[in-house]
Structure formats: structure tokens, C-alpha cells
């Protein structure tokens, strides 16, 4: 299915959307298509917002964000994310914030259709003040108090993978992060892949997602650029470095968006 059709069919205004890929296999092409189609009022979920959400936030696609680490990895700040949170530009962005352990477990609970997950975490931190997503439970056997996180169940998960087979099953490998959990936690799932093969190769550490848990598979070579796609391309580090300058300033950001056919969708 062409990516534009997949996004049109499965990503709606107001949806909770998780574009996952933990520093590797980040679904940039799909994110740009979401922006191109002018989706608005999204709740964006992602462990590491990275440049991909910096762009969507700057373009005004998001009303809320759920995340655990929002930096430009190895470079510095996400300036569009900061501008939205600090200055409400292009509009106010509501923040729901986890630790990695917390958000990973929230996805896992979602994938299991459990309302919450238990973990050793958060104790003594101020993140615990977000009582609507982080709470405590008591072990019924030992009396020990542990952290609980509310499950995350996105309307749609979007990931990039290396391979699909002719039946639409998907294979990804290398650092596979939380993609399996995000896809299984979501109501719908879109996958972009580098290529389609007749048969999957043997790959230690590969994750295979059966076609029947996926809503759409689109062939988008280089769909993770400028991030990594193990076996296909390495991170375009120059872009990550340059992004710091591009994103630091609203005008240079908007110029970049215009050049790339990405419209600013906020009406504020």
C-alpha cells in the first residue's frame, strides 16, 4: 500500500500516535507524510522524541506528548519541543513524562491489554507527581510498595523495518527497542520497510511481526533517514548536527519545512 494511502486510512486528527524506533529505524518518512497530510491535535507517544517529533511539534501537529527522553542524541536540545513547552509556539503542548523503564512498561502493559504495569522505579523522583500515569501498588504477598504505570494503547503505531515478505509479515533487527510492544499495544499499525523479499534471512535477534497484527505495510526505501537502518544505512550525522541550527530559530525551521513540502498546521 502506498504510504500516503496508509496514513490517510489509519491516522486521524486527534489520534494518539506512537512512532517508535529507539534511536534506530526511526520512521521519518511516515512522520513527514503525516505532516504533509496536515494531521492535527495528535497525542504523540515516543520514548525518545528525537528530531522526528521536534519536526511534528514545530509544525503544530501535536497537542500532547508522552515521552521519556527528549534530546537530540549526541548533539543537544530539541529546540522545537522546547519552544512549544517553554513558549507555547506554535501552541501549547501538554507533557506527560515517564522514565524509559516506565514508558517501556506502559507499552508492554498495553500490548498485553492490561491496564497497568508494575516496575521497580520512580521511587523518590518528582516524576511520581503525575499521578494520572504513575502510581503505586502494594505486593499482595510481601507488602512491598512498587511503582505502577498506566498502560499506553495508541490508536496507531508506526514503525520502520528492514523487510517484509510477500505475505506482509515484517522483520526488523539490530536495536529493536520497543517496536514490538508499541505495535501490539496499538489498535492499528503501519509499517514502512526497506524492501520486500521472498523469504526472510536468518537473523539473530530479529523481531518478526505477523501480517495479521499490521494494518498496512508500505515499501519506503530509506524511510528511516536520517536515522539508522542496520544493514541499509547509517545515521546521517551531519543532518543531526545541522538540525540544531535549523531548529533553533522559528524562521529557519519554517523555511526548512516549506522546502520539504511540510505545512505548518497550527491555527494559533
Amino acid at each position: 500500500m502506498p504510504l500516503a494511502e496508509a496514513i490517510a486510512a489509519h491516522v486521524h486528527d486527534g489520534d494518539t500516535v506512537a512512532l517508535e524506533g529507539f534511536t534506530h529505524l526511526i520512521p521519518f518518512a511516515a512522520a513527514h507524510e503525516i505532516a504533509r497530510q496536515g494531521r492535527r491535535h495528535l497525542t504523540l507517544v515516543r520514548m525518545t522524541p528525537d528530531l522526528i517529533y521536534d519536526q511534528l511539534i514545530g509544525l503544530g501537529c501535536a497537542d500532547e506528548i508522552v515521552f521519556s527522553y527528549g534530546g537530540n542524541p549526541g548533539v543537544g536540545s530539541l529546540h522545537r519541543l522546547r519552544d512549544a513547552v517553554e513558549n507555547h509556539w506554535p501552541h501549547r503542548l501538554v507533557v506527560h513524562e515517564h522514565s524509559h523503564a516506565g514508558l517501556a512498561n506502559a507499552y508492554s502493559a498495553g500490548a498485553a491489554r492490561l491496564p497497568f504495569a508494575v516496575l521497580r522505579g520512580y521511587r523518590g523522583t518528582d516524576l511520581e507527581e503525575q499521578r494520572d500515569i504513575i502510581s503505586r501498588v502494594t505486593c499482595p504477598f510481601t507488602g512491598e510498595e512498587l511503582a505502577a504505570v498506566k498502560a499506553v494503547n495508541p490508536d496507531v503505531a508506526v514503525i520502520h523495518a528492514q523487510l517484509a515478505d510477500r505475505d506482509g509479515n515484517v522483520m526488523l533487527w539490530g536495536i529493536t527497542g520497543v517496536q514490538r510492544e508499541a505495535v501490539l499495544a496499538a489498535k492499528r499499525a503501519i509499517v514502512t520497510v526497506e524492501e520486500v523479499v521472498d523469504e526472510f534471512p536468518e537473523r539473530t535477534g530479529a523481531v518478526i511481526l505477523p501480517n495479521w497484527v499490521l494494518s498496512a505495510v508500505s515499501v519506503v526505501p530509506n524511510g528511516a533517514w536520517p536515522s539508522y537502518a542496520a544493514g541499509y544505512s547509517v545515521r546521517d550525522n551531519d543532518f543531526y548536527q545541522q538540525w540544531d541550527a535549523v531548529s533553533r530559530d522559528r524562521e529557519s525551521f519554517l523555511a526548512w519545512a516549506a522546502e520539504n513540502d511540510l505545512k505548518e498546521t497550527s491555527d494559533v
Binding site: M47, G70, E86, L119, R123, I175, G177, G205, R235
Partner: protein
């Protein structure tokens, strides 16, 4: 002798704290540099674990980020992020966690979240990432952070990762907490009685007065301060090779 900066000294001092055989959770930035420096100098058998899922990675050059292909390709095993945090970090399988900080207070509590109020901050920082659970569960925590009054504050605006708690007495976690804070000035360690961070070592050329001036609370200095040996030529050469992302042959 090569020249070196106070940042070099900080990274070298951090690397030296890693013991051969340690299982080390490595984050981005200075921790990445320090851990790889240790592995390339005195601790060839330390096991680098990246929160992205790479266990016992042996990168040929300094990883650009924790998503580098080289990490997955050279790791003994690559696990999912939930498994990393549940079965490895949370379960207490990490000996040493290296952490950074935007603010740190006198009881080793770390802020990497916001300056100002969480709901409407003056400065939005990156957030906690893997640090809260590493800070809680790692056998010992080594914080690497440049010392300045803006960073070393009386009270952090937000506790992202707990050290010894707001008054030094509230830590409820399996690990020993921030046993060492390594800065560009020297090393701070928690007082055995009060858990207040106390300057115990100074880098070459740094005075106690300078350290006190770089600290936002009335810094205690240990009676017998240790002098940190300057970086060796081998340490500096290795550090530069890492920073230039030159591959090592192995």
C-alpha cells in the same frame, strides 16, 4: 607531555573508576567517552551495556549514539528495551551506572527535567530517560558533570533521579547511590554519616577555593584531600582517538 583540558581530566578520572570486569550501563555524552576509554585502557574486560539493548558491546570506535549499528553488531546479545529495564537494570545486574546532570544538589539528587515548574517550565531539559532506574538499581552510580554554581545547586528544581533524597536520608533503593561525583574540578563523595557531597579529590592545578566557588552550596572539603594524577599520555592518546571516532584494531 600532551596538553589536556579540565574536561579531558574529568573523563579520564571517570574512566579510572571503572574496574576490569564491571558491568557498566553507558549513556550518551561523557559517560560514553569515559566507559569506552576505560575499556580501551585499564579495563579491557568491563562489559558495556547500552540502554538501547546492547549487552557487552565492543564498539570499534566511539558510538555516535546509543543506537549505533556497531553496538548491536558487536554485542554478545541485543535485547528489547522493556527487557533491558526489567531483567537487567531493574533486576540489579548493573555494577556501575554513569549518569550526567543538568543540576545536582548536595545530596546527589539529579535534575535533567526542567528548570522551573514541570507544567510550565522556564527551561525544558531532555528528561529522565533511563537514569531514574539506573540511579536506583545500579550497584554504584558515578555522576559525571562539570562543576558550576548553576549546576551544583542547594536544591534541584526537580528530582529526576534520586541520590540520597532531599535531606540525604530518604534513599530507598537497592543500589548504593551516587558514590562518586566526578567534575572538571575533582571528585565529590557522600559523607559516610550525612550523605552530603564532600570534595575529596582535586584535579591537578585546581584549588579547594576554586571548587568552593564553583559550587552553589557551602561546599565541605575533606580534611585530607587527595591529588588526582594527571592524565597519562596513553590515556590522552586513547581519549583523542575515541573523540575523533578513529577505529581501533581488534
Amino acid at each position: 607531555m600532551s596538553e589536556w583540558t579540565s574536561a579531558d581530566m574529568m573523563n579520564v578520572a571517570a574512566a579510572r573508576e571503572l574496574l576490569d570486569g564491571d558491568v557498566c550501563l553507558v549513556g550518551v555524552g561523557p559517560p560514553n567517552l569515559a566507559a569506552n576509554l576505560a575499556r580501551r585502557t585499564h579495563a579491557p574486560n568491563c562489559r558495556l551495556v547500552y540502554e538501547s539493548g546492547a549487552i557487552d558491546a565492543k564498539p570499534k570506535k566511539l558510538p555516535l549514539s546509543i543506537g549505533d549499528d556497531d553496538l548491536a553488531a558487536t554485542a554478545v546479545s541485543v535485547v528489547s528495551v522493556p527487557e533491558m529495564f526489567n531483567f537487567w537494570v531493574g533486576a540489579g545486574r548493573i555494577d556501575v551506572g554513569f549518569l550526567g546532570a543538568a543540576q545536582i544538589d548536595r545530596f546527589g539528587n539529579i535534575n535533567t527535567t526542567v528548570i522551573g515548574a514541570h507544567a510550565d517550565p522556564k527551561v525544558r531539559l531532555p528528561g529522565a530517560g533511563g537514569a531514574p532506574e539506573i540511579a536506583a538499581a545500579a550497584g554504584r552510580v558515578i555522576v559525571i558533570v562539570k562543576q558550576s554554581p548553576r549546576t551544583f545547586v542547594e536544591r534541584v528544581d526537580f528530582i529526576s533521579s534520586v541520590g540520597y533524597g532531599p535531606t540525604g536520608r530518604e534513599r530507598q533503593a537497592p543500589g548504593a547511590g551516587p558514590t562518586l561525583v566526578i567534575t572538571d574540578h575533582g571528585v565529590l563523595q557522600p559523607d559516610p554519616d550525612t550523605n552530603e557531597l564532600t570534595m575529596t579529590r582535586l584535579h591537578p592545578g585546581v584549588t579547594a577555593e576554586q571548587a568552593i566557588a564553583a559550587t552553589g552550596w557551602p561546599l565541605k572539603v575533606a580534611d585530607s584531600i587527595e591529588a588526582v594524577p594527571a592524565p597519562t599520555g596513553h590515556e590522552l592518546a586513547t581519549l583523542r582517538k575515541l573523540r575523533d571516532r578513529e577505529p581501533f584494531d581488534d
